[in-house]
Subunit: 448 residues, 2 copies
């Protein structure tokens, strides 16, 4: 297995690079045509790897790739989910190499999508290729690669609903997350949900001179800052009315189990270059970013943002705000609470608009499940250490929906590392993780 | 006089347009070469109007135009100050016509600089031309037009200091402000000062995924909003420590005199399209924007500001903040207080930087002065109504400095109107104000 991966690595990388070179940025209308192009490339790779068939299906948004290999209908079926869309690349000037001209450097693959999720998805195609080429498959495999994960999968749920039979499976296998570190493999047994909204504060109907009007007219930026600042209290708790109503407090036992994962605060701080941590009172850093909900302003803009100085009271100010939710908090409910809350605190001397971008629920998979156990054994063998269960802070909203529609639990075997900068400039993916990921997936099939 | 202005108007406009077509945006390095080009154009216009000489002088920044006409050294000398630089034009898409291709439409001149300050400066050249052509000048005139007013005149004070003798004068005459309305001429007898600073909040050394880190890491945008929101309390008072120490409370008598200026709150609100006013408790809207200091966020940016959604905790967030100051508040002191205050409230889990862009002091001119009285009589005759004294909310920081260096008071005869949108898209200047401005300046010379 190791030899096959080693011998074929140059070809593997060239194939992966052909996918990464396509700038499939789902949020940017300028890249619309790149989406089906990327989907077709992946479908061809699936067929070459041994799939009975692989097709690109239209959706209301960007297309979906579906491929399958049937061995014996009486055997269990594993549905592999991945996504071929990527995050935007701005600020582009911070990239050390072209985000869409991947290269290998310092033992890692560099480029947008190296990890998230082209690199991780590609490992599944190669694990499949290995087993198929040797006739060692003992499960039916189905692959679904979507093109809208980074924008919240707006079209996939409906498409899955309409192809429920075609997608029928026993387990959903996903590699789109990180493990704790190269030395501490971990398996995600739950992820947070998401509500992503935007607030617009509108003041005067034209930009005003702040000298003439300053002091007498509400400045939309100041008002927006007041609103945003009021959303988290001094104890780090979110003030949106009703926000915590559905949050289930973890038992002391559960918290103890999760705290098995090693954590070094100084290392954590230095890995992201911060002077100190900040968060909800009464919870550890690891808990704050996994089992507790959070609220972040992901973007803000208004007024004069160029070089130098302009004395303006702008007509508008904008903010993008997202909340991470824990299982049992429904995204639709939280988004509504947020909208109601913002409207209720909006002062009457400005107009405040608030609307939802997208959202999704969190989910959990039992540690006692056959799938979790198989993954634990596979990764334990490859890494030489028993993986720890972890809870992911990020969201893959569509997985909760697929879980509900298909009646199959998602298992998250992620091989990314914090150092990969997946939503930032200079995204990378360690070659060693790429190799071990392929090995772990192959072994997972052996033990599942 | 009226006939001369009327007969020559097509030529006047063509000359003014030749100045307005030059995109002399002082804050934008891309327009560096346009600055001397604009200065040369104005120098030539001065000579054509009858100046003994007019030259473009280099400074450490953009050049200065200086021209003069000496009649008799024993006569009083009037220094006319204006500026040929203009504000940036963004958002460019909101302009109904090209900002740098001026046109006359609906009785007004449209384009960047139509009023501020190319249009108003140009009136002085034409008033001078009229008097010079008829041999009616009874004062020595000096003209100084700078190219850095919109960026806080960083080079002019030193240049004035070095040319103190050349600039010696009895009064500084300026048209760079507004009057209350077409029906209520007013003369500014004081202006606010300015402190303009920028705050940068720095968090993690790379953009982070808000799913993985949200809740555990301080988000620079949230922190910036907290800081900005804390700067004004619920009574609309600025919380910067020591901020009000030097503010002189106006007497009830002075407040009554200033309140003579007519003011209609509904008209005010509808003129700028706001639902309500907001400001310091205990003061009227007109007081809030003239005799009271204020604080505005003029620009804010951070994180993802493109279309769609990106779940990021950004490395940095920025804000441009300006404070309008009243006479007796020193800009240098306030800027220092602001910097100290921000540093004192900056939380230790982020890095907070704060630096000054520019600033300037406010100033006052006595209503009893000969210059004010002459302006009152001149404008009273042209408008048929006795002008009211007013206090300007805006700042022309360099005027306080020139007052100190040259020992001459500035008199602000401004002919702009609120409707002119001087720092916004679709800047304009009413032709009627343009004409009456020239007339008023000519009469001012007669009565001074």
């Amino acid at each position: 297995m190791k030899k096959y991966i080693q011998d074929n690595e140059p070809r593997f990388l060239e194939e992966l690079f052909s996918v990464m070179r396509i700038p499939s940025v789902s949020s940017d209308p300028a890249h619309k045509a790149d989406m089906p192009r990327c989907a077709e490339t992946l479908a061809a790779l699936l067929v070459n790897a041994g799939a009975d068939s692989a097709e690109v299906y239209p959706t209301k948004g960007h297309p979906v790739v579906f491929g399958s290999k049937t061995i014996d209908k009486s055997l269990p079926t594993i549905l592999i989910y991945g996504h071929y869309d990527v995050q935007p690349v701005d600020p582009i000037e911070l990239w050390k190499s072209d985000p869409f001209e991947p290269e290998v450097r310092d033992g890692a693959i560099w480029g947008r999508g190296a990890n998230d999720d082209k690199g991780q998805t590609f490992m599944h195609i190669k694990a499949f290729e290995y087993l198929a080429s040797r006739g060692e498959l003992r499960h039916n495999l189905k692959f679904i690669f979507e093109g809208e994960e980074e924008i919240g999968s707006p079209s996939l749920a409906e498409w899955v609903e309409n192809h429920r039979e075609m997608l029928a499976c026993d387990i959903i296998l996903v590699s789109d997350t990180t493990m704790i570190s190269e030395k501490v493999p971990s398996i995600n047994c739950g992820m947070r949900g998401l509500s992503y909204l935007e607030i617009v504060v509108k003041g005067p109907d034209k930009d005003l001179h702040s000298g003439h009007y300053g002091g007498a007219v509400a400045n939309p930026i100041n008002v927006l800052c007041d609103i945003l600042s009021s959303l988290i209290d001094k104890d780090g708790r979110i003030t949106v009315k009703g926000f915590y109503d559905d949050v289930v407090e973890l038992s002391a036992e559960d918290r103890a189990m999760l705290s098995r994962a090693p954590f070094d605060l100084e290392e954590y701080k230095s890995s992201i270059g911060i002077c100190g941590v900040k968060g909800e009172k009464g919870y550890t850093t690891m808990e704050r970013q996994t089992i507790r909900p959070s609220l972040d302003v992901n973007g803000i803009w208004g007024g004069f943002t160029g070089e130098g100085a302009k004395t303006v009271i702008p007509t508008e100010a904008h903010a993008k705000v997202s909340m991470r939710l824990v299982p049992n908090q429904l995204s639709s409910k939280i988004s509504k609470l947020f909208i109601d809350h913002i409207r209720s605190i909006a002062p009457d001397y400005v107009k405040v608009e608030v609307f939802e971008h997208h959202g999704g629920d969190g989910f959990l998979i039992p540690i006692s499940s056959k799938a979790y156990q198989a993954a634990e054994r596979a990764m334990g063998e490859v890494y030489g250490i028993r993986p720890v269960p972890s809870r992911g802070g990020g969201s893959i909203p569509i997985l909760a929906e697929m879980q509900q529609i298909l009646g199959a639990d998602p298992l998250l075997m992620g091989f990314g590392l914090e150092r990969d900068c997946i939503h930032s400039p200079n995204e990378s993916y360690l070659l060693d993780q790429f190799r071990k990921g392929i090995e772990s997936i192959i072994l997972f099939y052996r033990y599942f």
